[in-house]
Amino acid sequence: MKKIFQLKATEILKKIEENNLKKEEVYHHFKERIERIDPLIKSFIEVYDYYPTEKGAPVAIKDNICIQGRKITCASKILSSHIAVYDATVIRKIKKEGLLILGATNMDEFAFGSSCENSCYYPTKNPWDLKKVSGGSSGGSAAAVAARLVPFALGSDTGGSIRQPASFCGVVGFKPTYGRVSRFGLVAFGSSLDQIGPITTNFTDCAYLLNIICGFDELDSTSANIEVPDFMKALIEDVKGIRIGLPSEYFQEGLDEEVKEAVMKVAKTLEKKGAKILEISLPHSRYAIATYYIIACSEASSNLQRFDGVRYGLQIKEKEMLELYRQTRKEGFGIEAKRRIFLGTYSLSTGYYEDYYLKALKVRTLIRKDFEKAFSTVDVILTPTSPTPAFGLGEKIKDPLSMYLSDIYTVSVNLAGIPAVSFPCGFTSNDLPIGAQLIGKPFDETTLIKVGYTYERLCKDFFERTPEIAK
């Protein structure tokens, strides 16, 4: 018989409902695993005590999503004692569903990073190899799910922060269409790019969690007021006639051979089931990183102005107001946050605005149009999630540009606002997970789930295999 941690979240829910499992038993099972295994990877910032809920299946929350009465730190010194005074909309929905919120997971400070090394607490390590990064910025959520310390979790994705750690940790990470999930109560990073999404071990749990969190919300002015389909109905094995595009720009120089091979194999597997594989072009892909970092940093520098040491968070006491701001922000922000605030402030400043910020907004249009054109001939796009498997701890932290370039296949999706999912598609010769990315048309999460689910049924082992430390 399977142990609790080997079950899908949806299986746990069913067993609880049928009285084959007790809610307390489920909680203590995962709590014991966290106490035993998490010291190795450090994926949690805080684990909450048991409290009664209707359904009892535990979910972990990235520490940039507000849960009323709980600490929310964004893994930043500037917020290290902050208590959320309201629930994010996704939390309100999760509570209404009756899930148990198990704890807050680690992340790069304010979601700035691709390795989870920019946390003010500690880096989260990769459960498959403790010398490797978990990815970022939702590294804590991805590592916790991969190590089976929690059945599923929420992350946030501004330029790949759900998908890249999911690929590094061998789990499913879904970024919905911009506007699908309310951003109310998510600490803002890049407001035109941010989306909350699920990190799970499989597509069934992914569809279940999407059903809970998606939907129009008056409290988010960019929330999409359009109908949300039942994503559970997309869990069907059928890819007949589905046109899958492979963008040539995503398979060029810089892509690891083993990753390339694994992703090409995904195409072949789906082709055998009746999908059509087509080569496509996204010609402005080479400008995506530059465009993304200007826009994301500009929005971040603006959003982070609120951390002034007056209304909340850290305050360094000074006799003069301006000096209080300057000292508080010097002490409160880590180096990557400062770098991004500087880059954003520079891009938005008089004399540089046209050359940087405005230019990036225009190239963003071209990147968006590349996708529109591609989607006139294909239904989904298949790419690697990251050019390499998980890299070493400390390997890129001193060279920010090389860190930024690791997001090369994920940022365009946020610039275009479209949905995408990373799912496990194999292992390297060193037993590190490899992730493939499926990109969909706006508001067509359904096709991504259908194709992903079909692939999962064909290649179950990639989804079910667990790291040694999780056993």
Binding site: I83, Y86, E218, R311, M321, L324, F342, P400
Partner: protein
Amino acid sequence: MITPQTVKYVAELARIKITEEEIEFLKEQLGKILEYINNLKEVDTDKVEPTRGVFFQENRLREDIPCKKDIFKEILKNAPQKEDNYFKVPKVIE
């Protein structure tokens, strides 16, 4: 080109105190990043409209009706310094 003066100027705009060492460090790193970013200059964007947001960008207005009273406590809960129903800051006028 990023000069130490540029770094100091941006630090002032961003209200972040920086040390002499950090000026050198940030000058070098921002210079490298901007050098990479400058490849955007080769893209012809003369007739391209900027994208400020992707979907549903219309302003959604609502009636201005107060919906909750007595939220001072909640708002002030995380304030580092407060007095009565106010945030407390150093004196800003002489």
